[in-house]
Subunit: 346 residues, 2 copies
């Protein structure tokens, strides 16, 4: 098993990426890592985290970095040898089994789409982000890879999300829901109204329309939506969580009695923070790419990077992509088949 790690991706690169890689090498003895980044800039951290010359570590030089504020559309052309692009090249040439990056999400989508391409029959890849709910977690597919989607895309996101949820949540038959503005079958926007009957017919675990509040109560394990809406739900939740912490601090620091109470709850608040943390999952896979690609949060910690590497290798072992291709074919949901259905209105 060989995983490429984008050493220059993320807000705290390359330190965090190298530290996470060191943890992964120590914890998973069957794992080989290719660290992709500016070699000279990596030496200090390789030394610091004690993995210089590690037998299961290889370095791959990439002189450039895609910065967070760059445009994904131009980053690929402008920086032909960025750490991200080089990771995608290693994945394409099968020199690695998977890649993990906490870098620019849009650029990672663009680089893998163009260089690695999608799986046979898949029109577009989707980012599958795991979010906490009252008990357990749920998956948003797509969480932001495609801002404008077709019926074909949403149907394929549903099938791909189902397979990934089977691995991630260890549920044999994950409930798949369609994000909408009303629980009833007929509610929704044009796109969701069109895809609803298709999902209803082709997916045995389809639970129908799911509203954004019900998903936090466990209405579905996989929430299917276009990437614009999914990204708003994901980022909105992050924003509200931060605002809630802000409000909590505000009300708790108002008088000495409350401050004492807050101190007694400090371990409880630490636990609460873990509910929202994605450190244990490490990142979101880009489902549908012809190779495993895990994209981490820009603010990834070393533990996140370690777990992104773990999830990446586990997806390879699980045969995620083989299962996706099989499921798409079995359901008669290749891009060509779905496009034909859409046009004939079948």
């Amino acid at each position: 098993m060989r995983i490429a790690v984008d050493a220059m991706g993320g807000d705290y690169a390359p330190g965090v990426a190298v530290e996470g890689t060191a943890q992964a090498l120590a914890d998973f003895p069957d794992l080989n890592v290719v660290l992709v980044g500016h070699e000279a800039k990596l030496q200090f951290y390789l030394e610091k985290y004690g993995i210089t010359g590690h037998p299961r570590l290889k370095l791959h030089h990439a002189p450039e970095v895609v910065e967070m504020r760059e445009l994904s559309s131009t980053s690929l052309r402008a920086k032909k040898h960025s750490s991200l692009t080089e990771c995608a090249r290693l994945l394409k040439s099968k020199e690695v089994d998977g890649m993990a990056s906490a870098g620019h999400t849009g650029a990672a989508v663009a680089a893998t789409k163009v260089l690695v391409r999608t799986l046979p029959g898949i029109d577009r890849p989707a980012l599958a982000a795991s979010m906490p709910r009252e008990r357990g977690r749920f998956l948003i597919v797509d969480a932001g890879a495609n801002t404008d989607c077709t019926v074909t895309n949403l149907m394929q996101f549903a099938l791909m999300g189902e397979i990934y949820a089977r691995y991630l949540y260890k549920i044999e038959h994950p409930k798949v829901g369609l994000l909408s503005v009303g629980g009833e079958d007929v509610k929704g926007k044009e796109l969701t109204k069109k895809v609803f009957p298709l999902m209803d017919r082709l997916m045995p675990n389809f639970v129908g329309n799911v509203e954004a509040d019900a998903i936090f109560e466990g209405a579905a394990d996989v929430l299917v939506c276009d990437g614009f809406t999914g990204n708003v739900l994901l980022k909105g939740s992050e924003g509200l969580a931060r605002a809630t912490i802000y409000w909590l601090k505000e009300v708790m620091l108002k008088n000495p009695l409350r401050m004492t109470g807050a101190k007694m709850l400090s371990s409880a608040f630490r636990e609460l923070k873990n509910y929202g943390s994605s450190e244990l999952i490490g990142g979101a896979p880009l489902l549908g790419i012809n190779g495993i690609c895990i994209i981490g949060h820009g603010g990834s910690t070393p533990l996140s990077v370690r777990n992104a590497i773990r999830v990446c290798s586990e997806c390879v072992k699980f045969g995620l992509n083989e299962q996706i291709v099989e499921s798409i074919q079995k359901a008669g949901c290749t891009a060509a088949e779905l496009d034909a259905m859409e046009h004939t209105g079948a």
Copy 2:
């Protein structure tokens, strides 16, 4: 000032609506209320809250109720004399200056659109929901009245939201942002990319694209989006807030020390709950309708109803609709003008 109140709307109707009306009549001496509902069913509550025969209260009989699970599209035809439809009729005939309902949102949109119609130059009405952010609040326009929107719709939502925010938040120049998946100008979906340059050119207070996490930090006072995305952000936030309370209880009840700490913080938690409460605003206006219409949450309390009535009367006094028409005309943003621009690509 005369406001129609849908007595049968909301999860706890008609009790809550009558109690809220009683509070409003007591608190606002210049206010007249027309309670619209099943007269026989109202008597008990009128008695209970001491407003039987109140000099500023009139009853208007409506034999039917639109149930929450009904389809908005058919409710209008199926129930010609529902409390909601009768409120809209009173508004249309100018027998009242405004209406307030905690009933079926979709049915309220349909009834007012068909019976009361939109303001001159306005293509579609938008629901303007106020949400809490770290400090203060922000407005989502549209929060769910229109699932599929055009450039014309979004541009008009922005202008209408600006006027309403001026009233609601007492800000002379509210910052208007376009909900998107990236802060940069070029990010977004087809619709937002098309409306961006128009807003940039026509609105002096336009702050550009705003991501769903940044809005909770105060990136804008008015967040413009299609009603599908806005509804997902609104409902998703409600769901996450409930999940957070669930998690808080879970971690706080784990041992006696934490339980003691939680008890010391009980007043702080009550304050925290108020941050998220919309009771003080009472409801969201349906902007762009040719008459003031405030739509409350299905779970409205008497205080919410009282404040929905207050906001309704204040919007009338503020001249909300007159200002909307003036602003739309001044900006050259009537539906006809915008549609022409869109087609000529100007």
